[in-house]
């Protein structure tokens, strides 16, 4: 079970982690993009933090949809619509709930990644956040299918996201700004896959903490 308080704690942790990793993500984006991913995500989650107090007593669906809307109207770039859609769809998948079962979590992750794919039309291997999100979702679903508990399943999801993130290094970018580089995109880790990993990792960290 994941509680609403944990979801709220997660979002706060994400805001903190993205602030800490602002320069790192921006640096990754400088190599194959336009040097703003960390700045954008940090700005977005600051906006989320400013809106969170108004909704943190609502259901998880509302909280996540508000998060999505805040990102859409403040992040801009590719990250804005993608992460905005991710949280909007995640929220829609768990509308009205105050705690999430493992099945809810699986549905949330699947809806989120589906939203990203629909919005950005990137495929696995295009060197985008999809390369972290999709394997993570698969791993989570497989783990609960195998009977793992939430924390264990999330750990495997985060491991898969980390692996997916690292796997973007040798990839040739096909979507986003990095795709303009062609061959020269090879050898660099995708910033969006990295932020996706960090966001999932933050969820694991929060869930793993004794409540």
């Amino acid at each position: 079970m994941v509680t609403r308080d944990q979801i709220v704690a997660w979002l706060k942790t994400v805001a903190q982690v993205l602030e800490e990793n602002k320069d790192y993500l921006t640096q990754l984006d400088a190599a194959i993009g336009d040097a703003d991913h960390g700045i954008n995500m940090d700005r977005g989650f600051k906006k989320v933090m400013s809106q969170l107090p108004g909704v943190e007593d609502k259901d998880i669906g509302s909280i996540l949809k508000t998060t999505g809307m805040a990102l859409i109207s403040s992040v801009g770039g590719a990250g804005g619509p993608l992460y905005g859609t991710l949280f909007m769809r995640a929220g829609m998948a768990v509308d009205g709930k105050y705690e999430l079962t493992d099945e809810d979590l699986a549905a949330l992750l699947q809806a989120a990644v589906d939203g990203v794919v629909q919005r950005g039309r990137a495929q696995l291997g295009d060197k985008t956040m999809v390369d972290a999100l999709t394997p993570a979702t698969e791993a989570f679903k497989q783990a609960i299918g195998e009977g793992a508990d939430t924390i264990e399943a999330l750990r495997r999801a985060v491991d898969a996201a980390e692996q997916g993130m690292k796997d973007t290094i040798p990839m040739l970018a096909k979507k986003g700004r990095a795709s303009y580089l062609g061959e020269r995109s090879i050898g660099h880790q995708d910033p969006g896959a990295t932020s996706s990993y960090l966001i999932l990792k933050a969820l694991l960290d929060v869930i793993s903490q004794p409540q």
């Binding site: 194959i32 336009d34 703003d36 801009g76 970018a173 096909k174 303009y180």
Partner: protein, 357 residues
């Protein structure tokens, strides 16, 4: 970082405020969400032309708002696409009942945000067409990637479509024209130095004292190739030949189908240049290169065009689509037909481009 700004956070807003203060006869600004719009908006019965994109490319787009060009421009943070709420709000303020054309540069962020905005605007009963500009030949052909970036042709499309809207073209005709300008325009740029994104504070990339980057994007995205600095004539030749000898370019873009009521994939093909073509030659500064150097480039470009049988019928030389204070230039060639020529010459009155009035 050496810039005439107060803080990175306040830069975009303060620049907009200064622009509004300097040109009250042409433009107004709306803050939060940010957009610049025509002082006399909405113009009833006229298609509204709206563009936007990350800041840092001024005068594009905010400096092209005014009579004969854009009705509104939505500036994002530096080098970051604006958000759908800006584009939606701008559409609501400037639309005059004849629909809205969003002119969108082909970056995944811009494309996605403008698509979301169009969806939202339609739910408010506003007719919207999104037309992509993707003219940067530095990006190699491909059907399976993001495709080419939108660069110099954007400025020309905004001018030409702005004139068409001013003359009473309906939304479909303006959108068709915009698509036609796009497939007839090709660009390529290069950088001598990196720019510095204010929020980052350090150069986006490092170029040695004797190096340059060919095929650079307008956000300091690394280009096609890094090489030793060359004389202006050789640089011009590299850019011009990449443009002139670029073969037909095919890609699939997503456009809204009004009849079907959904987004559809459309295949578009840029025809290559042919001897005998009439062209508009546009030599653009990346921001830090002064106009005297642009003319050195133009000189060689004119020579090459002549050799290749392209007849330059109009020229534009200056800093119009920039990348902050980056030094370097880009070249755009746009094949002109009589209608485009007449629309190009039509009066325009914006902070960044003005003639005839």
């Amino acid at each position: 970082m050496k810039k005439l700004i107060n803080t990175p956070e306040s830069f975009v807003k303060e620049s907009l405020e200064g622009m509004a203060a300097a040109h009250p006869d042409m433009i107004k600004i709306h803050l939060d969400p940010n957009f610049v719009y025509r002082a006399d908006a909405p113009v009833q019965g006229k298609v509204a032309i709206i563009s936007g994109g990350g800041s840092g490319h001024e005068p594009m787009h905010v400096g092209f708002v005014g009579m004969g060009m854009l009705d509104a421009a939505c500036p994002g943070e530096v080098f970051t696409s604006p958000t759908p709420d800006q584009m939606l709000e701008a559409a609501k303020v400037v639309q005059g009942g004849a629909g809205v054309l969003y002119i969108v540069k082909n970056y995944s962020g811009d494309v996605m945000n403008f698509e979301m905005a169009a969806d939202l605007a339609r739910t408010e009963g506003i007719q919207v067409a999104n037309i992509l500009i993707d003219d940067d030949v530095a990006v190699k052909d491909s059907l399976y990637t993001q495709g080419r970036r939108g660069v110099g042709t954007t400025v020309l499309a905004e001018k030409i479509c702005g004139a068409a809207a001013e003359r009473g073209y309906d939304l479909k005709k303006v959108a068709d024209l915009c698509r036609r300008v796009n497939i007839n325009g090709r660009s390529m740029g290069m950088a001598l130095t990196s720019c510095i994104v204010p929020a980052k504070g350090t150069p986006t990339f490092d170029l040695a004292e004797d190096e340059m980057e060919i095929g650079i994007g307008i956000h300091g995205e690394p280009g096609r190739e890094r090489m030793k600095l060359k004389p202006a004539d050789e640089i011009t030749e590299m850019l011009a030949l990449s443009i002139i000898e670029d073969p037909a370019y095919t890609r699939i873009v997503r456009e809204w189908d009004d009849e079907k009521g959904e987004w559809v994939d459309v295949e578009l093909v840029d025809p290559p240049f042919q001897p005998g073509d009439k062209v508009l030659a546009f030599v653009n500064s990346m921001g830090g290169t002064p106009v005297a150097e642009l003319y050195v480039v133009y000189r060689k470009l004119a020579e090459i065009c002549e050799k290749k049988g392209l007849q330059i019928v109009r020229s534009l030389v200056g800093a119009y689509i920039t990348s902050l204070e980056m030094q370097g230039c880009s070249i755009t060639l746009l094949k002109m037909d009589d209608e485009m020529l007449e629309l190009w010459d039509a009066p325009v009155k914006t902070p960044g481009l003005r003639w005839g009035v």
